[in-house]
Amino acid sequence: MSKKLVENISLWQLAVLMFTFEIGSVAVVGVGTDTKQDAWIAVGVATVLGAGLVWFYVYLLKQLPGRNLFEMITFCFGKWLGKIIGLLYVYYFLYISARVLRDFCELITSVIFENTPIEVISITMVGICAYMLYLGLEVFGRTGEVFIPYVFTFIILIGLAILFSGEFQMKNLLPILGDGLGPILKHVFPRLLTFPFGELVTFMVIIPYVSHFAKAAKVSVFTVLISGFIIIYGTVIEIASLGARQMERTVFPLLSAAREISLLEFIERVDLVIVFVVMFGIITKVSVFLFGGLKGLEHIMNIPYRYLVFPVSMIIGYIAIQISANNAEHIEEGIRFIPLYMHIPFQIIIPILMAPLLIWKVKKQKRRSDANGSR
């Protein structure tokens, strides 16, 4: 294996990226709206399960230190089968990144820019992601570090502002578990577990580049718990300020909740702050998926991914628009089709299939090298 110029990101950067990744599109579309006022419980359950899932991903990575998801797939399935599965993953990552991008474009075009062509939004956004990835993973991590304080404080502040505006009504959260746990569990699996938590499977491409790999598992699990907590916080805000009925009706719950803010007769109409939080979250999310796809292509085609950044990202910008004809189709795909046929196989089934194979192969390799060593 040739020595490449290895780029590293720190544990803190990994945590930051994971956090923004998690809350990114959740802030746009909201989660758990089907479970009404119990959405936050559903998120809580999903968070715990999600943390387990992430621990499992890092556990897999630990078996082969320093190799990313695609290298691991090739290791397990051999060259040709590995390439095919790798390509499927590339397809999955790029498709999801286009979807995430589309989420944001829908938000912008339906809330702020009614006349601006959606293409412009999509191209500019994906352009930023491409520029960032072109400059490398380190730059990506550092950009996250610069923005995380703002993202975090804005989210907290929005909650506080709603609270002080008097729009926060705890009674909207009642009754707790009126219909029992059944509907919640049904919602948690597969939808809530796979989105947003299962999507962390992409980080199997990034985690190998963390400088203190040994601690990555702890940090990732912890980050997932923290971000789950923030999502719960956001969901509680949404339910308490909008009420379960309205939350079901609105397309962008957090944005609608922020519209209720009115402080001192002057701090009102601050909903664009949400757009900022969302925008950075989306950039992170698109970039992570894009990076995953590009790394896969790099592995399969043996071309440095920097050559591919701009063409692939432009394609994604285009796909994001072509992916569905209208918003309804876009949302329906996200609810019915994607979790079942994309999320579950790529996030759960393939990794689980891979696990015994991986452990067995690693053991075999070890035995062989031990034998070589003793000889």
């Binding site: 702020i112 520029y131 550092r142 610069v146 900022f276």
Partner: protein, 528 residues
């Protein structure tokens, strides 16, 4: 009784804490021994002052005995040195053969004030203080002669970086004066000054100064490499050097810090940076620099820390204001009217009634006018300065509003932006905001707030990708380091700030060992 005890104890306490120069040197592992053998002494002192171009050892003969004169050329007046010391040591001068160091002094330098140095520490200390030290073979002590200060061009107050409290000296165009200004503040043999000559035709003297015990060797190596690579006909100011050695030219942000304040340079050197002093330029550069350096004024360290923290936050805020305020106005007034409170919107709309230009053009024209006025203000003869401010403020500002060409709000915004852009302590940095502001206005005119955000994100991506001599430009923020936060956005008290910035990878990371928090003596009256 109690009070007297308090005062007495306090004074005693103070005395105990006093560190003499010699103790200081002991900490730095400098040997104390002064040898009788001249060669050993010379070797010793030359090792210590290695890489300092201004350190000179002149070997002479006193009759048959070997002797030498050592001094720092930048710390004393060379004329006096020649007249008083070197001339009288000239072999042609008829002096009786010296027997010991006392008779040497009596015979050769009866009129020069002197001191004997019987330890090596004292020798080094005297050299650093601008003495010429004469070491004679076979003698147990050295003779230090006080020569007197360098002839300087009058040192003036800094003109670009003024402060209220703190030293009011500025660098001059003379390199020796500048070095002595630094040497005066850091009396340490480990402060090195290495000399280079740059410019194929001009052969300008360029000196790099650093602390050999602090500065990271790799960074130093990189600086030297880049200076050696300079290939140009002539350099006239350190600004030329800045462009020739910086990591990236296609960026509006200055990657190299410059200042005309010696105290500020000393602070940087003590953190482990390298100073570049060019002959003929009163602006001294330091590398590597990070973004946050440009928000720090040396006065921050002279004023109480709470106040300076507040002021520092104000600086960051005004940077943001100077950058985005005009574009926010454009975005809010032409794209997002719904985001303004109703009353505010009504009064802004009322003021804009009858203004014939779109908001973008309006603000572009006013910002340009302001830039022109600023440039004119810098270039024109001092005598007409008053005129320009009157013309600017009254004629352009007020008349334009009254004629209904621009709105009142806009004039307020342009004025506020302009003032905010002057807050940055380093002029170079405010230039970058001026430039970016125009691009930002353009973006906000196309995409509204979305455009502003787009641009800011691209700007941040650009910023984090920058490096200054291998150090990330946003170091301590990204990559984030919690331990560095004591001197970034706020300043902790000096006693709490014990570490040198880790992004510079200093050879000795701690500034000091103890915590020595100031506190009153333990008990009053009672006890001992």
């Amino acid at each position: 009784m109690g009070l007297a005890d308090f005062l007495f104890n306090r004074r005693k306490h103070k005395n105990n804490n006093k560190i003499t120069a010699e103790e200081l040197f002991q900490q730095e592992n400098i040997s104390k021994k002064y040898y009788k053998s001249l060669d050993k002494n010379i070797k010793q002192i030359q090792e210590l002052f290695e890489h300092s171009f201004d350190f000179t050892v002149d070997k002479i003969k006193l009759g048959d005995t070997d002797a030498c004169v050592c001094y720092l050329g930048t710390m004393l007046s060379k004329d006096t040195l020649t007249n008083k010391v070197l001339n009288s040591l000239h072999p042609q001068n008829d002096h009786p053969k010296p027997k010991d160091i006392n008779s040497i002094r009596d015979n050769y330098f009866p009129t020069v004030s002197y001191e004997y140095a019987d330890t090596f520490h004292t020798v080094v200390w005297n050299v650093l203080n601008g003495y010429a030290v004469i070491m004679v073979d076979g003698q147990g002590k050295a003779l230090s002669l006080e020569i007197g200060n360098i002839e300087k061009r009058a040192i003036t107050e800094p003109s670009t970086q003024t402060i209220i409290r703190g030293p009011k000296e500025a660098f001059t165009e003379d390199i020796n004066t500048n070095i002595s200004l630094i040497r005066k503040r850091i009396r340490n043999p480990h402060l090195k000054f290495e000399s280079f000559y740059v410019g194929r035709d001009t052969k300008t003297h360029l000196v790099i100064g650093y602390m050999s015990t602090i500065t990271n060797a790799d960074i130093l190596e990189e600086v030297k490499k880049r200076i050696e690579k300079i290939d140009i006909g002539g350099v006239l100011d350190s600004g030329n050097i800045e462009e020739l050695i910086s990591d990236k030219s296609f960026t509006p942000f200055p990657l190299i810090f410059n200042t005309e304040r010696p105290d500020s340079i000393c602070g940087h050197i003590m953190e482990g940076k390298v100073a570049l002093i060019l002959d003929g330029s009163p602006f001294v550069l330091t590398v590597p620099s990070v973004l946050t350096d440009f928000f720090e004024s040396s006065e921050d360290y002279y004023q109480p820390f709470l106040m300076s923290s507040f002021v520092r936050l104000i600086r960051y805020m005004s940077f943001m204001i100077a950058l985005v305020l005009p574009s926010l106005y454009v975005a809010l007034s032409t794209f997002h009217q719904e985001l303004m409170p109703t009353q505010l919107l009504l009064s802004i709309q009322a003021q804009r009634e009858g203004v014939p230009f779109p908001a973008v053009i309006e603000i572009f024209v006013m910002e340009l006018t302001f830039e022109i006025m600023r440039e004119a203000g810098v270039r024109m003869p001092r005598a007409v300065g008053q005129t320009v401010s009157i013309v600017g403020a009254l004629v352009i500002g007020q008349a334009a509003v009254e004629a209904g060409l621009v709105s009142n709000v806009l004039v307020i915004i342009v004025a506020f932006t302009a003032i905010a852009s002057f807050v940055s302590p380093i002029y170079n940095f405010s230039i970058s905001t001026r430039l970016l502001r125009f691009i930002l206005i353009l973006f906000s005119a196309i995409f509204g707030l979305y455009g502003v955000l787009l641009f800011l994100i691209v700007m941040v991506i650009h910023l984090v990708s920058l490096r200054s001599f291998g150090v990330p430009y946003l170091a301590a923020v990204a990559p984030f380091n919690i331990k560095e936060q004591d001197d970034i956005f706020v300043r902790f008290p000096i006693w709490a700030n014990r570490k040198r910035p880790s992004y510079l990878y200093p050879e000795s990371p701690m500034k000091k060992k103890g915590k020595n928090i100031p506190s009153p003596p333990p008990a009053r009256g009672g006890g001992k």
